[in-house]
């Protein structure tokens, strides 16, 4: 495989990994605070739809982005109220939210646009367009570095860069700020936080809202950057892959980047079966590549690659001890 093909593959990886990364970090905030979220899928889908719909209607992708975040926040609020206020079963709530999004997006899309449950194609300013970083063109011919800069690093849409910057930001928030300390504490032992005079409910809602914003970014990216419009079920299981990546990364920010890049790479590979044939000498079925992230997650969970210990108070509603 030559450098150019490799770069194209990696370029594809980055583009495919971005929604995974955003959703994964979203889940990170929520689960570290003790709220399990298997509704990442639904939130992404809802955001994808509303961002595309509003972007099309207003002609402005940034307004669309805001709308998408709004949709995701709404679902986050439902999950928060069910899990925190009403101390309900968080897994069931997540499942419900996924269905809700899957159903509502099509119903509303059909009613709004009448195109069988999709939005019209997005174009121009209603989409995120590739950004050419400075000097990309002039550096293009420099050996090795030039193509890397031109192909791989430059030329992505805004959300890709934002996603990558969110990783160190997340790390900093979690480990160097008071908010992060409290957030991590509330997922391990909420009673410790409560008796220290900090609101458990407040922290958890904050985490859930952050999750909503990031899922909003992930979903909007799908419909306005990766593709050009919303189609039914377009999230295609990415929310679950992001969850798998989160477990794979053992709930830490930088490994989240690694895990989502790995899964993005697998997705990119699945689009280029000819490459595998050429490099490895035999063909790997696409279905196997599709299934690989899930298989890998099961392997991780089985503890074959070290123990994956979730936040101790995860999934449990907090009830004051009498």
């Amino acid at each position: 495989m030559d450098l150019l093909t490799l770069l194209q593959l990696l370029d594809s990886t980055v583009r495919l990994a971005t929604p995974l990364l955003l959703a994964c970090i979203a889940g990170l905030f929520s689960e570290r605070a003790g709220i399990f979220d298997i509704g990442l899928e639904g939130k992404m889908l809802a955001a994808a739809f509303l961002s595309a719909a509003v972007a099309y209607t207003t002609g402005n992708v940034w307004v669309g982005l805001l709308a998408g975040i709004g949709a995701s926040l709404l679902l986050s609020a439902i999950h928060g109220v069910a899990s925190i206020t009403f101390r309900g079963n968080q897994l069931i709530s997540g499942v419900a939210i996924n269905f809700l999004a899957a159903g509502l997006t099509v119903v509303i899309a059909q009613s709004w646009f009448g195109q069988g449950g999709r939005t019209p194609q997005l174009a121009g300013a209603a989409r995120f367009n590739p950004i050419t970083l400075p000097f990309a063109d002039s550096l293009r011919d420099v050996p090795v570095i030039g193509p890397i800069y031109y192909e791989l690093i430059s030329g992505h849409t805004a959300l890709v860069y934002i996603a990558f910057m969110i990783v160190p930001l997340t790390w900093w928030v979690l480990y160097a700020t008071r908010f992060g300390l409290r957030l991590r504490a509330v997922g391990e032992n909420p009673a410790a936080v409560d008796t220290a005079g900090v609101s458990v409910v407040g922290m958890r809602f904050a985490a859930v809202m952050i999750c909503g914003v990031l899922c909003g970014l992930a979903g909007a990216y799908l419909a306005t950057a990766l593709q050009a419009g919303f189609t039914k079920d377009m999230s295609a299981g990415r929310g679950y892959i992001a969850l798998a990546a989160l477990i794979f990364a053992k709930w830490k920010p930088w490994p989240c980047l690694g895990a989502t890049m790995l899964f993005g790479f697998l997705q990119a590979l699945a689009l280029r079966p000819d490459l595998i044939q050429r490099t490895l000498g035999f063909s790997v079925q696409t279905q196997l590549l599709d299934a690989l992230p899930y298989i890998l997650t099961v392997v991780i969970l089985a503890g074959f690659v070290g123990k994956a210990i979730p936040p101790k108070a995860g999934g449990e509603p907090y009830v004051k001890e009498r």
């Binding site: 160097a176 700020t177 409290r182 032992n189 008796t195 005079g197 101790k312 004051k320």
Partner: protein
């Protein structure tokens, strides 16, 4: 006249029909240690929860240093200078000691300066009060004694002037408890006010200046510790003269039923819990295992009950028990004639959501007389339950009522009836009267003695030394996974037992008890003085029935 550090006036709190606190009045002067003693359910925890802002009192006022305060939440309590050290620690195990102390009391949005300041203050506090901790150790890696010190430091870091400790010595070894008391004395010397909640009379006598007794939600008395005695306090706690003796004939032991040889247990975390334990129990005798909780007694019961793995040899009625199996041998134990009343009836002995009749079959659900064809014979089980309830005076005698709706004493009777009526050769019984009211306690003790008189072997485990002394024919003392000493109950006395429970072997103890003392464990600190020995009795349990 100085104002009291903390004063409660006519505090009342009800939960539905249950009056948890009624007209509580307490006054604690600064620089003193005030004890609050009472049985389980007397209302102590509710009171403390009100003080810490978890509950709002229905009526009454809280005054701190002569000023009325409102405490709607924990933040207000902290602001008022109240610090609470809970019975179950509120620590984040994956954080360091420093992070736990700083949590919620950070100076600013950024962590680094807060941690730095905390580190400095910690050093100062440690030097002043003997509160030694390792700031960078993870809480999950440090021992219980240090964890408790972290809890105390949390309160002090927040400038608490009033410290409330809820049953602090439950999880501590005697040495750690001593260290705690030294810390409390240091704090008192510096003018801090301490409220100590406990059900242990010895602790009250040892370290408090004043003590309040709570019973059934009300304060029955407040006295100066120096002017009272354990007997008087026990009476105030319970409401009548406490019956300590059980009527029993001398035992006539028969054949060896249970023969345990060199039993070793290592728990899931790799800690060696039972270290070569050997003993025998004969038909028609009660062997009482005394000791502070956590010295291997629970593991012993679990192994005998069939849900913990062990290495060693156990003979039951002369036949060996296979210890190499899985951790689910409860059924085979029962088949061998071993019945088990577990230490924790709510977590193990009963399914709280099952009805009483379903619980009667629990553990014996494969029994032929509970079956009819491939199905369970619910009618038969129901009838059996009715009869058991009548014989054991369970109230209310409703087999269909869920176990969680019975009182502690009646729950215990359901478990006891089930196990005793199996006519076992060996009855294992742990903490038989924990959380049980006085009337039921006497009944349960009588049942145990009656079983023994029928020629059964009984292994009794209890942290209440009085219970051990009054029921047992022979006594074994466990400490740190060893049997420190074993001998007849007649020649045992509290002081001798106390030594053994504190880990002391040696000639002095031998002469005190006249027993064969194991040399296997001598405390590293050397032979303690008599004063220390008496102190260790504090952790041996006391006369009151909890």
């Amino acid at each position: 006249m100085t104002a009291p550090a903390i004063e409660l006036k006519d505090i009342s709190k009800a939960f539905g029909p249950v009056q948890a606190n009624k007209d509580i009045n307490i006054r604690v002067m600064p620089g003193t240690i005030h004890g609050i003693i009472g049985e389980n359910g007397a209302g102590k925890s509710t009171l403390m929860s009100i003080l810490y802002g978890f509950y709002k009192a229905d009526a009454g006022e809280i005054w701190i240093s002569g000023k009325k305060v409102e405490i709607p939440d924990s933040q207000a309590a902290i602001a008022a200078g109240i610090g609470m050290v809970f019975q179950h620690f509120k620590l984040v195990e994956t954080f360091t000691v420093l992070e736990n102390i700083v949590l919620g009391a950070e100076d600013s949005g950024l962590l680094r300066p807060s941690l730095a300041r905390a580190r400095r203050e910690l050093k100062a506090l440690a030097d002043e009060y003997e509160l030694n901790v390792e700031p960078d150790a993870l809480v999950q890696d440090i021992g219980v004694g240090m964890q408790q010190r972290v809890e105390i430091l949390k309160a002090l870091y927040r400038k608490a002037d009033i410290l409330i400790l809820d049953e602090p010595t439950g999880v501590l070894t005697p040495a750690e408890a001593d260290h705690l008391f030294r810390i409390l004395e240091n704090l008192r010397r510096e003018g801090k006010t301490i409220i100590l909640i406990t059900h242990k009379l010895r602790e009250i006598m040892e370290i408090t200046d004043t003590v309040s007794v709570m019973r059934r939600g009300q304060m029955t008395a407040t006295v100066k510790t120096a002017e009272t005695s354990p007997q008087e306090l026990a009476e105030l706690m319970v409401g009548r003269k406490v019956l300590l003796q059980v009527d029993k004939k001398p035992s006539a032991p028969g054949a060896v039923i249970l023969d345990v040889q060199n039993l070793n247990v290592t728990d899931a975390k790799g800690v060696h819990r039972l270290k070569g334990v050997s003993f025998q129990v004969r038909a028609g005798e009660i062997l009482g295992i005394a000791g502070v909780a956590g010295n291997g007694q629970s593991e012993l019961l679990e192994v005998l009950g069939g849900y913990e793995k062990a290495r060693g040899i156990i003979f039951m009625n002369g036949e060996p028990i296979d210890l190499t199996g899985t951790k689910s041998d409860g059924q085979s134990r029962r088949a061998r004639g071993i019945a088990h009343v577990p230490e924790d009836r709510q977590r193990e002995g009963l399914i709280m959501d099952y009805a009483a009749w379903e619980n009667t079959a629990f553990g014996y659900h494969h029994d032929a007389k509970y079956r009819s064809g491939p199905f369970m014979n619910n009618a038969a089980i129901l009838k059996d339950t009715e009869e058991k309830m009548a014989r054991f005076d369970v109230r209310p005698p409703d087999p269909k009522l869920a176990a969680k709706n019975f009182s502690g004493g009646n729950q215990q009777k359901i478990v006891l009836a089930r196990e005793i009526e199996r006519n076992p050769d060996l009855l294992l019984i742990g903490q038989p009267t924990r959380g049980v009211d006085i009337g039921a306690i006497e009944f349960i003790h009588q049942q145990i003695v009656a079983l023994r008189d029928q020629g059964k072997a009984i292994l009794l485990v209890s942290v209440e030394l009085e219970e051990i002394l009054s029921l047992s024919d022979r006594i074994a003392v466990m400490f740190d996974g060893h049997i420190m000493g074993l001998g007849p109950a007649e020649s045992a006395n509290q002081i001798g037992l106390g030594c053994l429970m504190a880990g002391m072997g040696g000639d002095d103890t031998r002469s005190m008890t006249g027993w064969d003392i194991s040399d296997a464990a001598k405390i590293e600190a050397g032979t303690p003085s008599l004063a220390d020995i008496e102190k260790n009795l504090a952790h041996a349990g006391t006369a009151e029935k909890v």
